[in-house]
Every structure is written in structure tokens, then in C-alpha cells.
């Protein structure tokens, strides 16, 4: 799956995007984020405050309880601040 990071999340992880094999038993966006946070201290720190994370699955905003389904691209980022 393609994982994409923006703003403070991108800086904390140190990557703008990456391809990852993710376990088949992850059902929701939140499951994937919890799994990713367990991969290293950098990820744990970047994804620590779940209330401050927002998600887009295949470029549509979704909540943490959204099903991954056959999603190809998950973006993780802080609340948006445009305009």
C-alpha cells in the first residue's frame, strides 16, 4: 500500500511517501495507523497523538474507523490549515 505523509507528520517520519506491505488482518484506517506506530520509535512518536491526525483514503477524507477495503493510498496528516 502507498502511504503518504504531509506537514508535521512528514517531517516527524522523515519521508513524504513509501510503499509498505501491510498485514491482511488490518481492517480499518485506525488499525493500520496503530500497526505503523509499532514499526519504530520515529513512527510511534510521529503518530503518538491520534486526536491530531487526519486521514485520506484514495484521496477522500475518512475517519479512523473507516474500512481499508481495497484502498491503494492512505495519507496521514495534521488538521488542514489552508486559506
Amino acid at each position: 500500500m502507498k502511504l503518504v505523509y504531509f506537514a508535521s507528520v512528514r517531517e516527524a517520519i522523515g519521508l513524504s511517501h513509501e510503499e509498505r506491505e501491510v498485514p491482511n488482518d488490518l481492517r480499518t484506517v485506525g488499525d493500520l495507523v496503530a500497526w505503523l506506530a509499532g514499526q519504530s520509535e520515529e513512527y510511534a512518536s510521529a503518530l503518538n497523538d491520534r486526536s491530531r491526525l487526519r486521514f485520506a483514503l484514495d484521496q477522500n477524507l475518512v475517519a479512523a474507523d473507516a474500512l481499508l477495503g481495497g484502498g491503494q493510498e492512505l495519507a496521514i496528516f495534521p488538521p488542514v490549515t489552508g486559506g
Binding site: F6, S8, V80, G82, G83
Partner: protein
């Protein structure tokens, strides 16, 4: 006339809005957001999610067009480094009478602030930079259109 543009070069509100002026309506409303000098800020830097950004702004214009009787609407948004005093975003709406254009303009900028995938970082004179925090008041303004 529906138009979305992401620009990495300076934008001029009058030029952006010119396409809305000749549509035959009696009302053209617009909002221009400007990089603000917030306690020593010299510039802001905008990052976005290419692809999702354009789709999101287009869907906001679709929603505004479905809700109000508009002759046209546009959103132009800067990305990259924007010096203090320069435009960051221009939103415009044209309609036969003023109420529709005024309300649609407020709707578009309020929703853009809470839904469009842009992130701002403030740059200071001493060379430091800081990500801007989202404001709860922006959520409240966006929610009033629900």
C-alpha cells in the same frame, strides 16, 4: 463557469476574478486571503496534496453551485513561499443578485479552511519556522453550513 487553480507563482485577485465579470449577472462577490504579519512572520509556506487538492476544491464549487443559483465560481490558491502582504487565496462567485454570490463566497472559504488539504508554515525573521495550528473557530464557521 467553474474554475480551480493551484499556483506556485504570485496571484493577482483582479486577474483571477475577471472571468466572473462578464457572465451577465448583477453580482460578483469575492474573498482574498492575505499572508498576515503575525508577530514577526516574514512569509508563509504552503504545502498541499496534489490531486486531492484540485478534486476537493472542485467538489466545493459543485456543492456551492448545487446550493445557490450561481453563474460561476472560482478558487485560486497559492502554494510554496508567500511573503507577508501577498495573496494566498482568491474565492469568487457570480450570480444574478447579491445574496447568492455573498453566501456562496463565505461557504467556499469556510469549507476550504477545514476540508482542503493545505498546510501552512510560518517563517520568522530569525530563520525559524513553525507549523500553523488549526483553529476550533474555523470548524465552527464551517459547521454552520451543514
Amino acid at each position: 463557469m467553474r474554475h480551480v487553480r493551484i499556483s506556485s507563482t504570485p496571484i493577482q485577485p483582479d486577474q483571477e476574478l475577471a472571468v466572473l465579470a462578464g457572465l451577465g449577472g448583477g453580482a460578483l462577490s469575492s474573498f482574498t486571503g492575505i499572508a498576515r504579519d503575525d508577530g514577526g512572520v516574514t512569509a508563509i509556506e504552503l504545502e498541499h496534496y496534489p490531486g486531492m487538492t484540485e478534486a476537493c476544491l472542485s467538489s466545493l464549487i459543485e456543492a456551492a453551485t448545487a446550493r445557490w443559483s450561481l453563474l460561476g465560481a472560482l478558487i485560486t490558491h497559492r502554494v510554496g513561499i508567500v511573503p507577508v502582504g501577498a495573496p494566498v487565496v482568491v474565492v469568487g462567485a457570480a450570480s444574478l443578485h447579491r445574496a447568492e454570490a455573498l453566501e456562496a463566497t463565505a461557504f467556499l472559504i469556510d469549507r476550504l479552511k477545514t476540508e482542503a488539504p493545505f498546510w501552512k508554515r510560518e517563517h520568522y525573521a530569525d530563520g525559524t519556522a513553525k507549523w500553523v495550528e488549526a483553529k476550533p473557530s474555523d470548524d465552527a464557521r464551517s459547521d454552520r453550513w451543514s
